[in-house]
Amino acid sequence: MAFMTALSLWLIPILIAVILLYGTFRKTATYETFVEGGKDGFSLAVSIMPFLVGMLTAIGVFRASGAMDALIRAIEPFLSAVGMPAEVVPLALMRPISGTGALGLMAELIKIHGPDSFIGRLASVMQGSTDTTFYVVTVYFGAVGIHRIGDALKVGLLADAVGVICSVVIVTLIFGA
């Protein structure tokens, strides 16, 4: 577990150093290139704004009405038996369907439970450890005109289910419930 903490702490700074040193070594205009790429980062942040406004408003209404709590209370007995926190179930279900929808749910969970709580960390790991299966299948197969999806969707969704279980196990092991 100490290794995990060290990895979290060191990975980003080391990656930065390696990239900058390699860039300098290969005579890349590092600073200018950084600024150029940074513009993409800004437009990315702006471009997800409408998605997040739409999703967070819908989730906000759903939660404020009390429907979210009712849903969680209804599913809790089944999930607590297997050690799965009911709060993250909506996120687990949304993750393969919509990336920004899941991002909204994750932000909401972090806001309510706190980023350093068990739920907050679990939501972070669940969001970060997988991609939006439906989107990937639609875009990649759609772009080359494949209409018979074959086993691709089944493989993706099964892997997502395994991913959720892995996230719960790993976060419990490392941060404790």
Binding site: T5, A6, L7, S8, L9, L11, I19, L20, Y22, G23, F25, R26, T28, T33, F34, V35, G37, G38, D40, A45, V46, I48, L52, V53, L56, T57, V61, A64, S65, I97, S98, L103, M106, A107, I110, P115, S124, V125, G128, T130, D131, T132, T133, F134, V136, Y140, V144, G145, I146, G150, A152, V155, G156, L158, A159, V162, G163, C166, S167, I170
Partner: protein, 197 residues
């Protein structure tokens, strides 16, 4: 599908509120959530600008290419049906490396190019080949070194250590990716058995 979920969230919420007397909270939530979302995005900009700026250096300096060279022997084993010197292999490698560094925008065009090449390899049929399903499985499992957006959101909500999920996320994404590859193989052998019969 996402359209239905989105509308359902609003409508179920409003109907539920009309029975439970929480319409006041619902009204507040509409405007508060919209404001929250915009604040969140502005906060996200900081990390995204920094990370994508850095990644541009990795891309331009040729570091990503260099890495794809290192990964080639592994990727050849994952895609046994693709000839090692076929252009498809190059695109698959670029796609994997771009994903690994969180460059979703660069990964998608590479992935699509790879799919086009794989379709050619498959004789242009409109049903997916084994390699196409494997590439898709790799992409849906989201192998990423640094989940920049997640870290940014954690920072926005004042985490005392926003990056402490990097290690666990990496571990979880490795598990997901490995199981995606294993599930993919299982489905492949199941298909083969069916064809034999």
């Amino acid at each position: 599908m996402i359209n239905i979920i989105w509308v359902a969230l609003f409508c179920i919420g409003i109907v539920y509120a009309s029975f439970s007397g929480t319409m006041g909270q619902v009204n507040n939530a509409i405007f508060k959530s919209a404001t929250d979302a915009v604040t969140l995005c502005i906060g996200l900009a900081s990390i995204l600008i920094f990370w994508l700026g850095l990644m541009k250096i990795a891309e331009k300096s040729g570091l990503l290419e260099k890495l794809s060279f290192i990964f080639k022997p592994v990727v050849r084993r994952i895609f046994p049906e693709v000839p090692p010197d076929h252009p498809a292999m190059g695109y698959i490698l670029s796609n994997i490396i771009a994903n690994l560094f969180g460059l979703g925008n660069a990964a998608t065009p590479m992935g699509i190019k790879a799919m086009q090449e794989l379709k050619k390899l498959n004789g242009g049929l409109n049903k997916p080949s084994r390699s196409m399903i494997t590439l898709l499985a790799l992409n849906t499992s989201g192998l990423t070194l640094v989940p920049a957006t997640v870290i940014a959101i954690r920072m926005q909500y004042r985490s005392s250590s926003p990056a402490d999920i990097v290690g666990p996320t990496l571990m979880a994404t490795l598990c997901t990716t490995l199981s995606a590859l294993i599930i993919d193989r299982i489905f492949y052998y199941l298909r083969k058995r069916k064809e034999k019969k």
